[in-house]
């Protein structure tokens, strides 16, 4: 559940992360199942080609790979937004030691 005061970047980044993992899952399920069903335990007699690729490699790997490349454009330029990352605090000392000093005080 989203907290009402949560930073916009956190909300958007969470949604984008979920979408990225969904794309990974779809790619995994499609490629592995297509290649397993069409590319395992066959004989060369049944082999056809698209460009240099055996049919099952073309449809199971090359096509989804090309789709992912094309998908990266709308994913990066439409779905993802830009937010300011904020100013970096001083990094010369470990951050948590400061935090603990404040808490202990």
């Amino acid at each position: 559940m989203t907290h009402p005061s949560e930073d916009t970047l956190v909300r958007r980044a969470r949604r984008e992360a979920a979408l990225a993992l969904a794309i990974w899952l779809v790619a995994c399920v499609y490629s592995v199942s297509y290649c397993y069903l069409n590319g395992y335990e066959r004989t060369a007699d049944s082999l056809t080609f698209v460009l240099w690729f055996p049919d099952w490699v073309f449809w199971g790997i090359v096509v989804p790979w090309a789709i992912c490349i094309l998908l990266s454009l709308p994913f990066a330029y439409r779905l993802m937004g830009d937010e300011p990352l904020g100013e970096a605090v001083d990094s010369e000392e470990p951050p948590a030691s400061e935090e603990r000093e404040v808490q202990h005080a």
Partner: protein, 544 residues
């Protein structure tokens, strides 16, 4: 095009290109040093002043390494088209690698002032134990991998020496190369490699590592394009199906199908392994400490977006053509040499008719060497930052002056170089397996805790600790069980239900992270609000 392969000779091109690459890398180190000096030492030396642009981020932040680049062509040559499925998950690596954690890690590292991954864990939970466990995991898993890469660098130098008979670039499946590695050329190569990499990394820190990594990535792309143009049209002059059909004729039907051609009787990529590799590369890429640090160092959110697009096109241009090239290689050169030699043999075979042929061969051969240098350099920075920031500064000298930290850093890097050389005088083995082991172990340790760190307000320090320790223990147990229970060689894991340890490690880590977080007291509201909520001024502005 020359027809035979028996008389192939390395020539002077490769060694000239290697020396040129080393010289250029040292120059990049000096340029990086100038950029580092603009900010504080810690932020500049270990994080490049948080200024990484899209090209630098895209070409350096994922799971590519010397081992991956050099082992992959050998696998295609040996097992055939099924390796397309083995590497197929790289289609989503750009999206998962940058969109899952990129924005939040970049933001959190700024809000907390974190320089390293353990810094970030420590700051997120306000608990030193989380940072300490993260530090120890990084030091443990990456140090072994870095040491193994020293050997790869030394072997490249040895084997590209003019007059060298063998052209194998790594040790796997080349027992003769391993045996003969114990010689003067190997030791000279080891010394020169260590001096060069430690030297330029010490001079320029994180930025030197990133810039040389980017340089080798560009070089790799040039090498692949050159090989493709020189090899593929020639082999497929009678039809695009000819490379595969000729390779099948030289091997067997299995070369064109899953689970792949094998002479050992063991299936190369059964279904469980195919699923596992969709975890190892994309999810492993999310969890690699070197990748996470680069996300922390990126300049802004447009950089992350552009990196996704750049890397998507880059991966497509590298891996798919390389598969076709190596299938053509099998058609051209059916056997009689170590599979690891396929890229150098193709480079040397194809180049004679090209103007400056020896240098073209050298350019192609120098690319894997650059990949090894960049990998070692990356690990040097991550490990040194772990020792200096997360142990020396955090536990021993919290208020040490910048100059003291600088000299301790230099000392640690030199020490790592000495360890790398000493450990490889008697060369370590299993480089390729170490890459998979290290990727599986770091992903199982860090992915679930990192996702919780970034997105789950209720996550607790104990939940994160349980996830890290549980994931790491699961992977280590399965890698130990392989040799002990099944009598497999070192770093060959026990594959429970046919799945790689990374799947089980991620599962155990996720379950433990969530369940332990839910049964332990929630983290302090103030700490969570500081890291998850809009800054007060921005919130006020939005409400008004």
């Amino acid at each position: 095009m020359p027809e035979g392969i028996a008389q192939l000779s390395v020539g002077y091109g490769p060694i000239i290109m290697l020396l040129a690459m080393m010289g250029f890398s040292v120059w990049l180190g000096t340029q990086a040093q100038k950029a580092v000096e603009r900010g504080g030492f810690m932020q500049g030396y270990f994080l490049g002043n948080r200024g990484l642009g899209a090209w630098a981020l895209a070409l350096t932040a994922t799971v590519q390494s010397g081992g991956t680049f050099m082992g992959f062509p050998s696998l295609v040559y040996t097992h055939g088209w099924i390796v397309a499925l083995w590497i197929g998950s790289y289609m989503v690596v750009p999206i998962t690698g940058f969109a899952v954690l990129g924005k939040r890690f970049a933001q959190l590292s700024r809000r907390t002032g974190a320089i390293t991954v353990p810094d970030l864990f420590d700051a997120r939970y306000g608990d030193q134990r989380v940072g300490l466990v993260a530090s120890l995991a990084i030091l443990g898993f990456l140090t072994f991998l870095m040491i193994a890469q020293f050997k790869a660098g030394a072997l490249v130098m040895k084997l590209t020496w003019p007059g060298t008979e063998s052209m194998a670039l790594i040790e796997t499946a080349t027992a003769d190369a391993v045996k003969s590695a114990y010689d003067t050329r190997y030791l000279i190569g080891l010394g020169v490699f260590a001096l060069t990499v430690v030297g330029y990394t010490l001079i320029g820190g994180f930025l030197a590592s990133v810039w040389t990594d980017m340089f080798q990535s560009v070089l790799m792309l040039i090498g692949v394009v050159l090989l493709f143009v020189l090899i593929v049209p020639y082999v497929s002059r009678d039809g695009m199906d000819q490379p595969t059909l000729q390779a099948v004729a030289a091997t067997g039907d299995a070369y064109a199908f899953g689970p792949g051609f094998s002479t050992t009787g063991l299936a190369f990529l059964p279904l469980g392994a195919a699923v596992s590799f969709f975890f190892i590369w994309p999810i492993g890429g999310v969890g690699t400490p070197a990748g996470m640090v680069r996300l922390m160092a990126c300049k802004d959110t447009p950089t992350i977006r552009r990196s996704i697009v750049l890397l998507s096109f880059y991966n497509g241009l590298i891996y798919l053509p390389l598969i076709v090239i190596c299938i053509c290689g099998r058609a051209l050169m059916p056997g009689g040499f170590a599979p690891d030699e396929i890229v150098p043999r193709l480079a040397i075979w194809a180049a004679p008719d090209v103007p400056g042929g020896s240098l073209v061969s050298g350019l192609i051969l120098a690319a894997p060497f650059g990949a090894v240098m960049a990998t070692v350099s990356t690990f040097l920075v991550v490990i040194a930052s772990g020792v200096v920031r997360d142990i020396y500064q955090r536990f021993l000298r919290p208020h040490a002056e910048s100059n003291e930290i600088r000299w301790v850093t230099y000392g640690v890097m030199v020490l790592l170089g000495v360890i790398g050389v000493a450990a490889n005088i008697n060369p370590v083995q299993f480089l390729q397996k170490l890459v998979v082991f290290s990727t599986s172990a770091t992903a199982s340790t860090f992915v679930a805790p990192a996702l919780m760190l970034a997105y789950w307000r209720r996550a607790t320090a104990l939940g994160s600790l349980a996830g890290m320790l549980g994931g790491a223990t699961m992977v280590l147990s399965l890698f130990t069980a392989g040799p002990l229970v099944e009598g497999k060689p070192m770093f060959e894991p026990y594959q429970l239900l046919g799945l790689d340890p990374i799947v089980w490690g991620l599962a155990v880590s996720s379950v433990l992270s969530v369940s332990v977080s839910l049964i332990t007291p929630p983290p302090p509201d103030e700490l969570v609000a500081k890291l998850f909520d809009a800054p007060p001024s921005a919130g006020a502005a939005t409400q008004s």
